[in-house]
């Protein structure tokens, strides 16, 4: 569960990204975050995985108070959250298998567990047969599926995706969305910031629109609502 109360975020350079945001997202929801560029979507997302700290207000994620959380506890908190980016953030010198296993190695999983879970998750995203490839040998859509695999290999309660289809063609985007839907079907909360009108309008979900740092719309089964 994610709960924000009257959250403000002003960056040190004086730019105010969020201007009093209150929202509640229940466990297992699928939510699109939409809005013009620079409206505060990325800040909204960064606050949830505690990349940024609010200037004012309170944030509760998975019963963790992200305002008072101690620095040293942030890594443990992050293990509950999977994050996917537009640019995949894969390590080019590692194989697909290693890229996914990396996420488990750095949280000191046992080698036996790592092997099993990585192969399982690669099967989930349909890339089991490409485990030995490097990211550069894969298409954009496949690379994004690897990064999704990495995000969910630790069985997080929440998956956050910041424009995951931004670099992908419509067909591949559809593919990625289906992957997120299947993750969501298993009870994982999915938050997806997107500029894809087609996806939002075709696969109706809850839509939260952020404009100029405030929540302009919050609709169940909403529309994208912007041109382009």
């Amino acid at each position: 569960m994610i709960e924000m109360n009257n959250v403000y975020k002003t960056y040190p350079n004086g730019v105010t990204a969020l201007n009093g945001v209150s929202i509640k997202i229940e466990q297992g929801e699928f939510v699109y975050i939409v809005g013009p560029s620079g409206a505060g979507k990325s800040t909204f997302i960064k606050l949830i995985y505690r990349e940024e700290k609010p200037t004012e207000g309170s944030i509760l994620v998975q019963n963790t108070d992200l305002v008072t959380i101690k620095e040293k506890n942030i890594p443990y908190f992050r293990r509950n959250i999977g994050v996917v980016f537009q640019d995949f953030k894969l390590l080019p010198k590692m194989t697909i298998y290693e890229n996914v296993a990396f996420a488990l190695e750095v949280i000191e999983e046992s080698p036996r567990n790592i092997r099993k879970r990585v192969m399982d998750v690669l099967e989930t995203v349909g890339l089991k047969n490409k485990a030995r490839f490097t990211p550069n040998e894969l298409s954009g859509g496949e690379q994004q599926r690897v990064s999704i695999a990495r995000a969910i290999v630790n069985h997080p309660k929440i998956v956050i995706a910041d424009e995951p289809t931004g670099n992908l063609d419509p067909e591949t985007s559809l593919d990625i969305l289906r992957t997120f839907e299947s993750i969501n079907a298993k009870g994982t909360t999915v938050l997806m910031a997107t500029h894809s009108k087609a996806l939002v309008n075709e696969f109706k979900k809850r839509v939260i629109a952020i404009e100029s740092g405030i929540i302009a719309r919050d609709e169940d089964r909403g529309e994208y609502g912007y041109e382009i």
Partner: protein, 297 residues
């Protein structure tokens, strides 16, 4: 920390060292240069100290007693000297004993003094030792004021000069070494900074998936440690080989007791250990500096 994790960190740290190529060479070179100078300086200062201490231990005040003094006067003088603050021991040496010492100390040439055995021109002497050698001079001044003291002789000058020289050497050496150590630390921290930059993507992902700060830091910490330790290999070899030859060649040629250098075993080993520790410290310090600055985890 689990053994598996530690071995992962060591592997990652070693990989960084190889990956950084010339920066690694430069850092190790800086540590090597620094440590060779540190070792040479330490060997010099510690040996000078030892020599000064040796000589200082031998420093005694020879109180020459007036030839006209009666036996009572001599005994009274002895009591007076004993009462001075800081005097450790007072021993009487008669003129005959003094002559004997003189003759035996001069070897064959001393034979010429044999003729004086009938008519000894020397004074009776009180040999005074100060508890703290640094007090030799004031004690000597005190003794000089007493009656029946003809002359006070002591060898403090040599010791003073040696200590003065030693102090200068120490100050100059320390300044020089501090500058070198900072250069080495700076180079190491830069090398590690490069690693951190090169691996910023990896670090970002590690943070994202919940690696602890300690976990992220360890490989850089190990890289610094390795740079420092590798940098101390050549200096240690220099110490062991160099000191071995120095010790051997000096032992053969110089016979004065006070220029005896500290023995190879254990001194060279202790010095090597110290140099290794300083190298490791420089490496760790350098890495900690850049981790703090560039790795805001």
């Amino acid at each position: 920390m689990k053994f598996r994790t530690l071995s992962r960190h060591i592997k990652a740290g070693s990989k960084n060292i190889i990956r950084n190529g010339w920066m690694t060479v430069a850092s190790i070179g800086a540590v090597t240069t620094t440590l060779i100078l540190v070792a040479a300086f330490l060997a010099l200062v510690l040996n000078l100290n030892e020599m000064a201490n040796n000589i200082e231990d031998d420093v005694q005040i020879n109180t020459l007693i007036d030839l006209t003094a009666t036996q009572e006067d001599v005994l009274a003088l002895g009591e007076q000297i004993k009462e001075i603050n800081g005097v450790e021991s007072v021993s009487f040496s008669s003129n005959d004993q003094e002559l004997e010492k003189l003759i035996s100390g001069m070897g064959e040439e001393g034979d010429a003094w044999n003729m004086f055995e009938q008519d000894n021109p020397l004074n009776h002497v009180y040999v005074v030792k100060a508890a703290n050698p640094e007090n030799t001079e004031p004690i000597a001044a005190e003794i000089e004021k007493f009656d029946h003291v003809e002359k006070v002789v002591f060898g403090q000058d040599v010791v003073d000069q040696l200590f003065t020289f030693n102090n200068y050497a120490r100050v100059i050496g320390l300044v020089l070494i501090a500058a070198l150590v900072f250069t080495a630390i700076f180079l190491i921290s830069n090398t590690i900074k490069i690693t951190i930059m090169a691996r910023s993507r990896e670090i970002g992902i590690m943070k994202l998936v919940g690696a602890t700060n300690g976990f992220i830091r360890w490989p850089f910490f190990i890289e610094g440690l390795l740079l420092g330790v590798l940098g101390s290999v050549i200096p240690i070899a220099c110490i062991l080989v160099g000191y071995y030859y120095l010790d051997n060649s000096l032992a053969g040629t110089v016979s004065f007791s006070f220029v005896e250098v500290l023995p190879f075993n254990p001194f060279a080993w202790q010095l090597s250990l110290l140099v290794l520790a300083i190298g490791a410290l420089i490496g760790v310090w350098g890495s900690v500096m850049s981790i703090r600055k560039f790795l805001k985890v």
